[in-house]
Symmetry: C2
Subunit: 323 residues, 2 copies
């Protein structure tokens, strides 16, 4: 079974999530729905809702509240995509022009704000303080992660620990909230909540490491991204960190100078690519991702239903994206 087939199994749940999302976007201001659904309804894989629904079911939850929670997770994720694209001056996402290109930075920032606020309003309507605490904490850490990343831009000497903290915050904490809130719905005890939290955190870390590595490798059209975009933007990610660690003083100077060059072009990217390749940095990076996926599977080893298998498939899917 693969990711798509697992999603088939919870297809009726995912449809309910889509309906809930549409109802949350039903504002007097149709423009909001137009901008938000451009991103939410086009090409998104519903990764966070999928993790949440499978986690809730794995923890024995049978009710309807997961549709609200899954929708807010997708909203919060979309809000950060909108704001990221403004922050990064991005022009393409998933092969389509970004919202800021189509509607301008102003509308993009404000629709992101709407999605964040609307999420909290929806969660308050659900009236569960544990869920609210989990998701509002994740959202706060996400903002911290984005700021940390911004502060570390153009720093070729960033440590693995700093990198890990950034990707935990900017990506993994929301996925951890997706799985942990499943355990909260299932009224599980603190230990199981923690295990489900760790599962999401570990697949989230693997997810971002894979993304960051693919950024060096995959061509334009597949991800709707320019290859080497992170390098151009001055974002130091795992392949660079690993190659830098394995380099001698002289090689480090070369890496640093390439990274700190004022106007980097395709030629500079090819240079850095071949150095990283010569250090085996891409394979090593994927090995890191693999290790976090294995940790994640260990986290859910306590589950004894077929949901354990489904969640494992979701975890494996993260690595398959590289092909």
């Amino acid at each position: 079974m693969n990711f798509k087939e697992v999603q088939q199994i919870i297809d009726s749940d995912l449809k309910r999530v889509s309906e809930t999302i549409r109802s949350f976007l039903d504002s007097k201001i149709s423009f909001i729905g137009q901008v938000a659904s451009y991103l939410i309804e086009s090409g998104g894989k519903r990764f966070r809702p999928t993790v949440h629904i499978l986690s809730a079911r794995a923890c024995g939850y049978e009710g309807d509240r997961m549709y609200t929670i899954a929708s807010t997770l997708e909203f919060i994720h979309t809000a950060t995509l909108l704001h990221d694209d403004v922050v990064d001056y991005a022009e393409l996402r998933r092969g389509q022009p970004t919202a800021n290109v189509l509607w301008g930075n102003e509308a993009t920032v404000l629709v992101g704000d709407f999605l964040l606020a609307r999420s909290f309003y929806a969660l308050v309507g659900d009236e569960d303080l544990d869920i609210l605490r989990c998701i509002s904490n994740a959202t706060t850490r996400m903002a911290e992660g984005e700021i940390l990343q911004l502060l570390q831009t153009n720093n070729p000497e960033i440590t693995f620990e700093d990198y890990l903290e950034i990707i935990k915050c900017k990506t993994a904490v929301l996925i951890a909230a997706a799985s942990e809130t499943g355990a909260i719905l299932g009224k599980k005890n603190r230990e199981i909540r923690e295990r489900m939290h760790n599962f999401g955190m570990n697949i989230g870390i693997a997810f971002q490491i894979t993304d960051d590595t693919l950024d060096y490798i995959i061509e334009d059209k597949t991800l709707g991204k320019t290859r080497g975009q992170d390098f151009i933007d001055g974002k130091v990610t795992l392949p660079f960190i690993l190659a830098y660690e394995k380099s001698d003083k002289c090689e480090r100077e070369i890496l640093k100078n390439l990274f700190l060059k004022d106007e980097k072009d395709q030629n500079d990217f090819e240079k850095i690519y071949s150095i990283l390749e010569s250090k085996n940095a891409f394979n090593l990076s994927f090995e890191y991702a693999n290790r976090y996926v294995e940790k994640a599977k260990e986290d859910i080893s306590f589950l004894d239903s077929h949901y354990r298998e489904y969640l494992s498939i979701i975890a494996d899917y993260i690595l398959e994206r590289k092909y």
Copy 2:
């Protein structure tokens, strides 16, 4: 008594709010505190905290929770200022360079996001769903108001009703939440909550009408704003709407053409200013503001303590800002 003297009476409360704000900004990432406190600690009048504290005390509340709530109101307000400055490409606020000028759009958007998320996390910690509902609803409407305003940019035929909806959402709902949450803390019934809500809404409307009118009248340094900034930005506000209503077909053409001109300059502003002045639009605008202040005072006529007087002084202060 004036605004400052009323604030003197609750000085120890306002100091507790400042301490709470500082504790909420105490992140590992000192940069966040640096950007946020640049706005929060410089020149802000603590208007929303003042309204909240006086409302809570007026409704018989004696505890400490108002410091948390007042701080989150100030955070949410600051987040919208940060995002507004990015949206408006503003360069000055309160006579100082804006955060986006000092730290860039990226950091400004992200610190705004942090403040919003941190507010919700703090409110969840307070564990009162009524408060959460009130403030998350206000925040959602604020985002809607900003988007409505953006959509109505460069529309010289905006109606008074549309204008009122925009200023209610973008400004008044948060002030209404400040006073209503005071009544919630005081465990007042629905009717009194509604009256306190209306009080905040009405002073909020008066506040924004006054701001919009002063934008045409007051010179650069006083507000740290360029005179006529709204006109330059294509924002249609009450003085224009009132003058437009009183104009004949030919005069309307002139007003429209001035408003829709591609690159407006100081000369265009002087022209529109003298037309609006000739229609008595500024005085009429202030009369509108005055009417909302009177409504607000009516809303709190049920109060029988000296807090009724203090809240009335806050309401009157809104109009005094014009001198």
